[in-house]
């Protein structure tokens, strides 16, 4: 059971922050479920999108920020494009994720976060993404060694891969970009 008066009070400030950052009025959501009905990622979510919005209406912002949903939603914006009251559900969820990042909350979706971090590290090093090494490192670090290995012969056959990364020349500038931005998912040293 939630003690609603308290939850509402405690969550008020952070919910307001989400509303401010996204420009949304969450009270407008009438729980029609359209967002949930068309979400492809819902099968992996712990809370369906409409429940995410509902929880925010009730001040349950901690649950929202530390949910799997916040991490798993890939911002395809199908929900936002169909919401009858034009709530940008995707932006709300993404913002909750970003706020979780900023606060260094525990990572409920380790594999996914690892993927994001490796991806960005890869880019920060080369200036461009090197798909082969991303796949390699991801498999090594996540302990799922054979993930997508079935694709490898196909990729090789179709000559779709560079064994060595292409790097850009002005990598200093890329490093500078990564150094001025604080809040992105990164690997701990």
């Amino acid at each position: 059971m939630i003690e609603l008066t308290k939850t509402l009070e405690d969550g008020r400030e952070l919910v307001a922050e989400i509303e401010r950052r996204t420009g949304q009025n969450l009270a407008a959501c009438y729980q029609c479920g359209t967002c949930t009905s068309t979400c492809t990622a819902n099968m992996a979510f712990d809370y369906p999108p409409h429940v995410m919005i509902r929880m925010l209406q009730l001040g349950m912002v901690d649950q929202v920020m530390s949910s799997h949903t916040a991490q798993l939603c890939y911002d395809c914006m199908t929900c936002s494009s169909r919401c009858p009251v034009r709530i940008d559900v995707a932006d709300v969820i993404e913002t909750a994720k970003n706020m979780a990042d900023e606060r260094g909350l525990p990572e409920p979706e380790r594999a996914l976060r690892l993927f994001r971090k490796l991806f960005l590290r890869n880019v920060s090093r080369h200036g461009r993404l090197h798909e082969a090494s991303l796949l390699f490192w991801y498999n090594v670090k996540s302990g799922t060694l054979f993930n997508d290995m079935s694709l490898v012969p196909l990729i090789l056959r179709k000559k779709k891969v560079h064994i060595h990364p292409t790097r850009i020349r002005n990598r200093r500038e890329i490093r500078r970009i990564f150094s001025v931005v604080k809040n992105y998912p990164r690997l701990k040293k």
Binding site: C32, T34, S37, T38, V51, R82, P84
Partner: protein, 652 residues
């Protein structure tokens, strides 16, 4: 000039915050005030008698009453002072309740404000002159526009009072949308069984003149004295001769869309919308007729045993006088296709509207009461109903509720079970709106007896897969995303105003809302009146509603109309504009701005052209008063002097 001032205590409503005696005392200090007093309940019988007694005793010729809002009791007190011999328009009400005692808690501040407001009233009443209502004759005939159940009910009620009615219907038959329905909630009586007899009554009622295939083209005049041009469109069939034998329809080689059946089934270029049509006559649509498209044919003329076909027929215009007008132009259904590509945007034949489903359910409909999938004619087993399509959806600019969708879907689910016992209905809904008498019980029947599964959520998408329609939805009660494999999908599409409603409203000079529904004068207290005197609303032209509400409103409009036109003469408000002819320069600025066309040019005896106000048309808005360059138009009751004296008084 002898002014009396009465301060109402309204029990404690006013007296608790405003020191009424102090206000009364302050009044006595004002110029021309010869009497003032504080009264406990001024509008009560003893209160009104106190006012009358004081008027007579002190020989007052003007009265200020500081009490509640004039919107509440202005008429009451006008009558009171009139009974005491004072011209009713020399009474000024001052609002010290809604605008003072109820919104302030500091007694001193409130009292001070009340004194100010009272003084403004005194200042205004000083500038007042006696006004007299005038009388205009009333034409007793009534025009009803639209022949759906609302127009039918209104016409019959009015005709029952012995008042002649002209009923103008745009389509070839009476009946409107109700004639297309199968059975109706909450009693499940068959729509045509209750409507058809009423349609026939209209035809046989001596006091009703029915003009179908016709529209109102222009309206002039004012309450009690309208004049309308009615255009009857040519249909190439002589209504007097046609017997409705259907021979032409059978023989006609040109197919045409079947609007009456909402596109379920097909019709012919010459057709009769339904077997119970009133009048039962054929009409020809040139845009689909071979004779007009290709220049050859003429079959109908050849086969018609009554010699009723007349290809040369032309439009006719009737011009008549009416004392009152009832608008009952009804609704149309929202065209959902472009708005909802996610529901297939009209690309899947087995996604149909609830109106199409009604036609399928109807025994006299194109499928003779059998439920069939349009794509292959098979009987569906799993049927999904979707509420609120084009309703309650701000993203497409349609925020309002359709008012009947919840109920007719419950009805259709019940009927579906009757037609196909082993079928399963699924109803996606957002909220259940079952607010009429017996409606809740009816809705529960759909769940309990018809076994409809209610899923609380909107549908995000429909897609075809292997001959089924996959309906992706959510059940927000269980928090689940879900999918139903449907054979047929039925959409409860929202209501829109009927085609051309806004244009008609402009012709009639009545207001309409942003969705083109016609606006009533006050949602609670004047629900069938418009703001233009003599024009009334009935049915869904004013907003979505079901048949019981439609009929109730139609009878209410009829009652208002009967009250109006059964008089020989009527009073008009004297608070209208007037022109000082001596100084009018004939610039016609006033004519340009008047929204009611209440100003005309008139030649004076000295040959000068000046503006004159037609008092029965003027609604007293005062726009002309401001527009007149030499300031020679003035609005009685709100003259420049009156308003200026109020301003000067309050700032003194």
């Amino acid at each position: 000039m002898r002014i009396g001032v009465f301060i109402c205590e309204c029990g404690t409503n006013i007296a608790a915050t405003v020191m009424t005696q102090k206000v009364a005392d302050a009044a006595l200090a004002l110029r021309d005030v010869y009497h003032s007093e504080s009264i406990q309940y001024t509008c009560s019988d003893p209160g009104q008698r106190t006012v009358m007694a004081a008027v007579q005793k002190h020989n007052l010729d003007r009265v200020v009453i500081a009490a509640c809002s004039p919107r509440m009791h202005e008429t009451t007190f006008r009558r009171t002072v009139a009974k005491a011999g004072v011209n009713p328009f020399m009474m000024e009400m001052v609002n010290i309740r809604e605008h003072c005692s109820w919104i302030h808690d500091d007694t001193d501040e409130a009292t001070e404000k009340a004194i100010d407001l009272m003084a403004m009233g005194v200042a205004k009443v000083r500038e007042e002159v006696p006004l007299f209502t005038s009388k205009v004759p009333v034409t007793s005939e009534v025009l009803v526009i639209g022949g759906g159940v609302a127009g039918i009910q209104a016409a019959l009620d009015i005709a029952d009072a012995g008042i002649p009615v002209t009923l103008v219907e745009r389509e070839p038959t009476l009946g409107g949308n109700m004639a297309r329905l199968d059975k109706t909630f909450p009693t499940l009586d068959c729509s045509s069984c209750i409507l058809t007899p009423r349609m026939v009554e209209v035809k046989h009622n001596q006091d009703i003149r029915l003009i179908v295939n016709a529209e109102v083209e222009a309206v002039r005049g004012y309450i009690g004295n309208f004049e309308a041009d009615i255009r009857k469109k040519a249909t190439c069939v002589d209504e007097e001769k046609c017997t409705g034998c259907y021979i032409c329809v059978e023989k006609c080689p040109s197919k045409a869309p079947d609007e009456f059946n909402a596109g379920v089934g097909e019709s012919k270029a010459i057709s009769i919308p339904l077997p119970q049509a009133v009048p039962l006559v054929a009409s020809l649509r040139k845009e689909h007729c071979r004779r007009y498209i290709k220049g050859k044919c003429g079959v109908c003329e050849k086969v018609c045993p009554a010699d009723a076909i007349d290809y040369e027929q032309e439009d006719r215009i009737f011009t008549d006088k009416f004392g009152a007008i009832v608008v009952a132009t009804g609704y149309e259904l929202f065209d959902w296709k472009t708005a909802y590509p996610n529901l297939g945007g009209g690309h899947y034949p087995d996604v149909i509207t609830a109106m199409q489903y009604e036609r399928m359910l109807s025994a006299s409909g194109p499928t003779e009461g059998h439920i069939r999938r349009p794509s292959d004619g098979a009987e569906p087993r799993n049927i999904v109903f979707i509420s609120c399509v084009g309703s309650r959806d701000e993203s497409i600019g349609r925020p309002f509720c359709c008012n009947v969708g919840c109920m007719y879907l419950a009805k259709q689910a019940i009927l579906t079970k009757e037609h196909i016992p082993d079928s399963q209905s699924y109803i996606f809904y957002m909220d259940m709106r079952a607010v009429g008498k017996d409606y809740e019980q009816f809705y529960r029947r759909a769940q309990r007896d018809a076994g409809a599964i209610y899923l609380r959520g909107r549908v995000g998408k429909i897609y075809p897969l292997d001959g089924k329609l996959m309906v992706m939805g959510a059940d927000t009660l269980s928090g689940q995303q879900l999918e139903v494999a449907a054979d047929l999908v039925v959409l409860a599409t929202g209501f829109t105003a009927s085609d051309g409603a806004a244009e008609l409203a402009q012709r009639l000079n009545i207001p309409y809302d942003q969705f083109d529904f016609l606006s009533e004068s006050h949602p609670k207290l004047r629900p069938v009146e418009t703001t233009t005197g003599g024009i009334f609303l009935a049915g869904t032209c004013q907003g979505p509603k079901d048949i019981p509400d439609t009929v109730a409103q139609a009878s209410a409009a009829a009652a208002k109309v009967i009250g109006l036109v059964s008089r020989d003469e009527m009073e008009t408000s004297p608070m209208v504009a007037e022109v000082n002819h001596m100084r009018c320069i004939g610039c016609w600025k006033c004519i340009e701005v008047c929204p009611y066309k209440a100003i005309e040019k008139q030649k004076l005896r000295d040959g000068r052209q000046v503006a004159i106000i037609i008092e029965s048309l003027c609604q007293g808005c005062g726009i002309c008063n401001v527009a007149c360059p030499p300031s020679v138009v003035s609005l009685r009751g709100y003259t420049d002097n009156q308003l200026i004296s109020e301003v000067v008084e309050v700032l003194r």
